[in-house]
């Protein structure tokens, strides 16, 4: 994957959206320890500054931050141009932004549903299209996006979120197909339940693990192996089983 024109001793260069995400943190920390450079994007400036400081002290060669509400897709073009102007090239684009939506409202209020789709799907499609054009030209690198096991089958508890992630997973399949000949990896990371602010208030979180327990899987997916990754691994057989349940039966289950 690493091109010979890229000096090996230099750390990786990452473009990270949703940089204040709890799942992204241990991943970025690991790379910071290997002198990676970061272009970080999230909404909350104060929190973004803390993450940037943490990555710098832990060894990041360079950290740039931009505050942006990523649902403002009109700003994406400038954002991506600025990022590439600053770093030249990126080894990894890592999309970790997302929201679950207010579970009580999202099924009844179309505005809330739209917000969930915009944050998890529309904004990602816009960014990925711009990033794909760049990565196609640089003919190297990895585009990695956090989707979710929730996209594998619609369930009453989170089907709006799930449909956004399902759409995203299919979009990534197509993008992977397109960028294959350019030598670019396109990775869809599908976590199960992870203990982060996003899941903090969920009543049920079966088999939940801490973000740092899935960081090694995510880091590995940046480099090699399958480009659709369930993490922790046991979600793959679980979701296979869940997909197999016949619809007439599934409707009656309390999942």
């Amino acid at each position: 994957m690493t091109d010979s024109s890229f000096p090996a001793e230099k750390g990786k260069r990452l473009f990270v959206c949703g940089a204040t995400s709890a799942i992204a943190l241990p991943v970025c920390r690991r790379l910071a320890a290997d002198s990676a450079s970061f272009f970080l994007v999230a909404r909350n400036a104060q929190r973004l500054d803390r993450v940037a400081a943490d990555l710098s002290t832990r060894g990041a060669a360079r950290v740039e931050t931009r505050c942006l509400d990523l649902t403002k897709t009109a700003r994406h073009s400038d954002l991506v141009s600025e990022a590439f102007a600053t770093f030249g090239e990126f080894d990894i684009a890592f999309l970790a932004h997302g929201i679950l939506g207010d579970p009580s409202r999202v099924v009844e209020d179309p505005k809330e549903a739209e917000k969930v789709l915009q944050t998890n799907f529309t904004s990602a499609v816009s960014l990925l299209t711009l990033l794909a054009n760049r990565f196609e030209k640089q003919r190297r690198g990895t585009i990695a996006v956090i989707t979710s096991v929730a996209g594998d089958r619609g369930r009453k508890s989170n089907y709006v979120y799930g449909s956004a992630k399902a759409g995203l997973t299919v979009f990534l399949q197509g993008l992977r197909h397109r960028l294959h000949s350019a030598g670019v990896r396109v990775v869809a990371i599908k976590p199960g339940f992870i203990l982060t602010p996003m899941t903090e208030n969920l009543a049920r979180k079966p088999l939940a693990v801490e973000p740092k327990q899935i960081a090694p899987d995510i880091l590995r997916s940046f480099e090699s192996g399958p480009e659709e990754v369930y993490t922790p691994w046991f979600w793959k057989p679980i979701m296979t089983a869940i997909r197999w349940i016949p619809e007439p039966l599934f409707k009656r289950l309390d999942l």
Binding site: A22, Q46, V51, A53, T57, N201, A203
Partner: protein, 457 residues
């Protein structure tokens, strides 16, 4: 992993469901709300009228337990390192950073925390709020002596405190048992180390007198000292023997060793909660004889990695479970210099005649550096830490008898280890308690502060 496990099981609908929290000694539980903080700027809406910031809950008693139905603010995800200045030897981090992670960061860079306790499983916030001490107290004082500034959430506002800015609040917060508010960020001075190795010596002693002599002759040249004494044996011949352990940093290491080697990560865990106490008196005396034996064998003298030197108990992550469901008490007192040797003699006599035994007894000299906090425990003298299994009613009776020795000598008990001291013993131990009181944030309280009368439920 014990605290983490109990949070996980109870995190479901974290806002409304009560969680049963316990601390290291497992003698007290609090049914409370649990709120995991992720960001220092987070607004936590309290379901209850009182809360308490908590770290790894490695305190033995109730200083780290919120009131019944109160809210525990779990700070362990506040673990960002914000600034590191190797020239000035200063680090700023969020208060939930664990010492194990701090060591992983510092040691490869040639630095060390200024003070470490007997476990690397604590947070920086816990180190401040209990003003912890380590094996270097006789030279360097306690953790608070090295803190340069603190950012505190106090009365709903974020306030900077240091010896220059809001100095009284600073002094109240160091050793302040979490009662002055939520500590957000801590800036402290570091220690430079020549390698991750120490030169250690084990010297056997047969009586308190020889311990005191050894201690006097070692304090100057050895930055780290501690002693282990067998006050468990029933045999008068064995009772009172001990080992004096001293260490110093060294750059003189064989070429086969890496200069900065990380701590070993292979720790054992006890996979379930034993329904019975696994530590019996027979097992204990065997253990003590064995330890004494191996400690005296020559291979214990020489080069040792910092991890087994400072954190010998960390090799089994949750050894506290071995004491069974009733848990155990630790009793840590300090006897002031002038009265120390007579108090220790009295204590030795009481312990020899007692119906139960202290499984692990540690002696250590505290130096004369003035502590920063109004409620700091360390002060010049000798400190003793005893571990008692919880055997009603003997354990509480015995500790009350020892209280008398502490009172008579003008000594003090350590809140971090305490689950039962009386309000009056607290006031005798901490004469500055009334200066401290003015700085309590009324939103914060612990089972300890209610029990000894710093706050009222």
């Amino acid at each position: 992993m014990l605290p983490a496990l109990s949070c996980r099981l109870s995190n479901a609908k974290n806002e409304f469901v009560l969680t049963s929290l316990e601390s290291w000694g497992r003698t007290i539980r609090s049914r409370c709300h649990l709120r995991r903080l992720r960001w220092v700027d987070e607004e936590w809406h309290t379901e209850s009228s009182s809360c308490l910031a908590v770290g790894e809950r490695r305190s033995y008693g109730d200083v780290c337990l919120p009131r019944e139905k109160g809210t525990a603010l779990d700070c362990r995800s506040l673990d960002r390192i914000l600034h590191f200045d190797p020239e000035a030897m200063v680090l700023t981090c969020e208060a939930g950073l664990r010492f194990s992670a701090l060591l992983d960061f510092l040691v490869p860079r040639g630095f060390f925390p200024p003070v470490v306790p007997g476990t690397k499983g604590i947070t920086v916030g816990g180190a401040v709020a209990n003003d912890i001490h380590g094996k270097n107290h006789h030279k360097d004082g306690s953790f608070g002596n090295h803190v340069l500034s603190l950012t505190l959430r106090h009365h709903g506002r974020t306030i900077e405190t240091s010896p220059q800015t809001n100095p009284h609040l600073f002094r109240a917060t160091i050793g302040g048992l979490g009662l002055t508010g939520l500590i957000q960020d801590v800036t402290f001075r570091l220690r430079r180390i020549p390698s991750s190795w120490l030169l250690q010596e084990h010297i056997p002693f047969s009586s308190l007198e020889t311990f005191l002599d050894l201690d006097r002759s070692s304090s100057e040249e050895w930055p780290y000292t501690v002693s282990w004494i067998d006050w468990a044996s029933r045999s008068p011949k064995l009772f009172g023997r001990g080992v004096f352990i001293r260490g110093r940093e060294t750059a003189d290491i064989p070429s086969t060793r890496a200069r900065f080697e990380r701590a070993p990560t292979n720790v054992g865990t006890i996979p379930f909660r034993p329904p019975l106490r696994c530590l019996s008196e027979i097992g204990l005396s065997l253990y003590n004889s064995l330890t004494l034996h191996t400690r005296l064998s020559s291979k214990e003298n020489g080069l040792v990695h910092f991890d087994p030197f400072f954190f010998p108990l960390d090799h089994i992550e949750n050894w506290n479970l071995l004491y069974g469901p009733k848990g155990f008490f630790q009793y840590q007192a300090v006897f002031p210099e002038a009265k120390a040797s007579s108090a220790l003699e009295k204590l030795e006599k009481v312990l020899f005649d007692a119906p139960i035994r202290s499984f692990l007894t540690v002696l250590k000299r505290f130096g004369s550096k003035n502590p920063t906090g109004y409620l700091s425990f360390p002060r010049a003298g000798i400190t003793v830490a005893l571990d008692f299994p919880n055997i009603p009613p003997h354990t509480l009776d015995l500790m009350e008898r020892i209280d008398q020795i502490v009172l008579e000598s003008g000594g003090a008990l350590y809140p971090a280890k305490d689950a039962r001291m009386s309000p009056s013993l607290f006031r005798h131990s901490f004469p500055n308690h009334s200066l401290f009181r003015e700085h309590i944030d009324p939103l914060f309280a612990s089972r300890f502060s209610d029990r000894i009368g710093l706050t009222s439920p």
